[in-house]
């Protein structure tokens, strides 16, 4: 299993030695099938399971804090369900940062998050937004699309497109691929004294 250390993602059968798998690749990204033939796609944690769990807890706290602040953003509107998910830290950090940046130029209504917390068996973590109240929905979303597509990793999504939600209502769909990198909201080098 030491070969895992050079990989970012591995695919395993559920019948494999899960103790070893959990040690080196604790983050479940997606799964297919059931029982012993279930295939799991997992992210490899370079520092091992304990370090990953520690980083995951810190990331959750950062997402809770950032999500709660985003709820107070006057240029973003959320459903009650999505507001609760923000406060619970269930939204991907890349989506949080992207929404914060978009709100510097656009007033948006979040219609849905299509993700849940890192570790859930989903390939993409997404958000769907619509223009909110500026009367220039399509053009505004096109500008938002261009802004999102101009980013670089880790803020460049896997998919970003304008779609139609119901009759005539354009929405912008933004999706980032799993796994979600941890620590994006707390990229601070410490100031320890030795």
């Amino acid at each position: 299993m030491t070969g895992l250390l050079g990989a970012d993602v591995v695919a395993t059968l559920r019948s494999a030695d899960m103790k070893v798998v959990d040690q080196y690749a604790p983050a479940l990204i997606a799964s297919f099938g059931s029982g012993g033939s279930r295939i799991e796609i997992r992210a490899v944690a370079a520092g091992g399971a304990a370090a990953y769990q520690s980083a995951l807890r810190a990331d959750l706290q950062a997402r809770k804090s950032a999500g709660s602040q985003l709820r107070r953003n006057p240029r973003l509107r959320f459903t009650a369900v999505d507001a609760a998910r923000l406060a619970a830290g269930e939204v991907d950090a890349r989506l949080l940062a992207t929404l914060a940046a978009l709100s510097s130029q656009f007033t948006l209504r979040v219609t849905a998050f299509s993700d849940s917390s890192p570790g859930a068996p989903l390939l993409f973590r997404g958000v769907t937004v619509a223009s909110d109240g500026d009367g220039n929905g399509a053009a505004g979303l096109a500008a938002a699309l261009a802004m999102v597509n101009a980013q670089e990793t880790p803020y460049l999504p896997a998919h970003c497109a304008i779609a139609r939600l119901g009759p005539g209502q354009p929405v912008l769909l933004i999706e980032f691929a799993s796994p979600s990198p941890l620590g994006l909201l707390s990229t601070v080098l410490t100031a320890d004294v030795r």
């Binding site: 950062a62 804090s65 950032a66 602040q69 985003l70 107070r72 953003n73 006057p74 240029r75 950090a93 949080l96 940062a97 992207t98 914060a100 940046a101 709100s103 510097s104 130029q105 261009a146 802004m147 101009a150 980013q151 670089e152 803020y155 994006l184 909201l185 707390s186 990229t187 601070v188 080098l189 410490t190 100031a191 320890d192 004294v193 030795r194």
Partner: protein, 288 residues
């Protein structure tokens, strides 16, 4: 040309003062009743990428994106003074110099500003490929000591070893990484930089109760170093940037602004000396 640009910057000092005053006014309308350091943090921005052009840097609060903190015309060698920022999550974004605020920004980082904590947002690396590191700065040193850390921003050297006098500060430090702070005895000592057979030295005088960051950069031939002052004295607020000319954060009450303004003016004079010595550092203009 350089002199003209410098003179233009000196002429801009009153505007800079006005700008900072606006920062304080915007940050706390009830300033007189609230101690400066009760809730706020401090952030400064450093452009340490010799290949990257001048840029405008934006700090967007997650909860209030309509009021970003903006540094215009940040060029290589620039280190801003510490700016007072309310606690919370911020997105760091860059635009080309003088690009409209409505143009597409490049998101480069996101970080949490905590109360009573100082940070340096440093742009490092090549262009394209510029990256931003956020460093948490130490605000006080042990009495009678100086604290020093090293940030490795050299593109030409993969690993750099740095010592101050007999004290080893960094061993084989890789690009875009930094060391913890090391307590050293104050005085004038030689800083030695070693990388792949190359050695560079500079003399650096440190006074007691101060905190510093040594940044390893690429010179025209070989390595060169820049020194940033993170904090002076044992006060709670950082005094960083004084050596660059416009350092230090300011108390918010009007009376307390006076010593800070003196710091600023003194810093301007120091800047004149620094630039006269050929240091690349200057201060960008803050908008808010």
């Amino acid at each position: 040309m350089r002199l003209l640009r410098y003179l233009a910057r000196l002429a801009a000092i009153p505007m800079l003062l006005g700008g900072f005053a606006a920062v304080f006014a915007a940050a706390s309308p009830t300033a007189s009743a609230v101690p400066l350091a009760a809730q706020d943090g401090w952030v400064r921005i450093a452009h340490l990428s010799p290949e990257a052009p001048a840029m405008d840097m934006y700090l967007y609060p997650f909860g209030d994106p309509a009021h970003p903190t903006v540094l215009k015309d940040v060029s290589y060698g620039d280190v801003s003074a510490y700016m007072v920022l309310g606690p919370g999550q911020y997105t760091v974004a860059m635009r080309g110099f003088d690009a409209p605020a409505t143009s597409r920004p490049a998101l480069v980082s996101s970080f949490m500003v905590n109360a009573k904590t100082a940070y340096t947002v440093a742009a490092l690396g090549p262009d394209p490929g510029l990256r931003v590191e956020v460093l948490r700065d130490q605000m006080t040193a042990s009495r009678g000591k100086s604290l020093v850390r090293v940030v490795q921003a050299s593109l030409k050297e993969d690993n750099v070893t740095v010592s101050y006098g007999s004290k080893l500060l960094a061993k084989q430090l890789t690009f875009s990484s930094g060391t913890p702070y090391t307590a050293v005895s104050p005085g004038v000592h030689t800083v030695k930089f070693a990388a792949s057979g190359e050695h560079t030295t500079m003399s650096l005088g440190l006074t007691a109760d101060t905190v510093h960051t040594i940044v390893v950069l690429d010179g025209r031939s070989g390595l060169k170093a820049d020194e940033l002052t993170d904090a002076v004295g044992t006060a709670v607020m950082p005094k960083g940037g004084a050596a660059t000319g416009f350092g230090g954060t300011a108390p918010r009450s009007a009376a307390d602004l006076i010593p800070w303004l003196l710091w600023l003016l003194a810093g301007a004079l120091i800047t004149a000396g620094v630039i006269g010595l050929g240091w690349p550092r200057r201060t960008a203009v803050v908008h808010r």
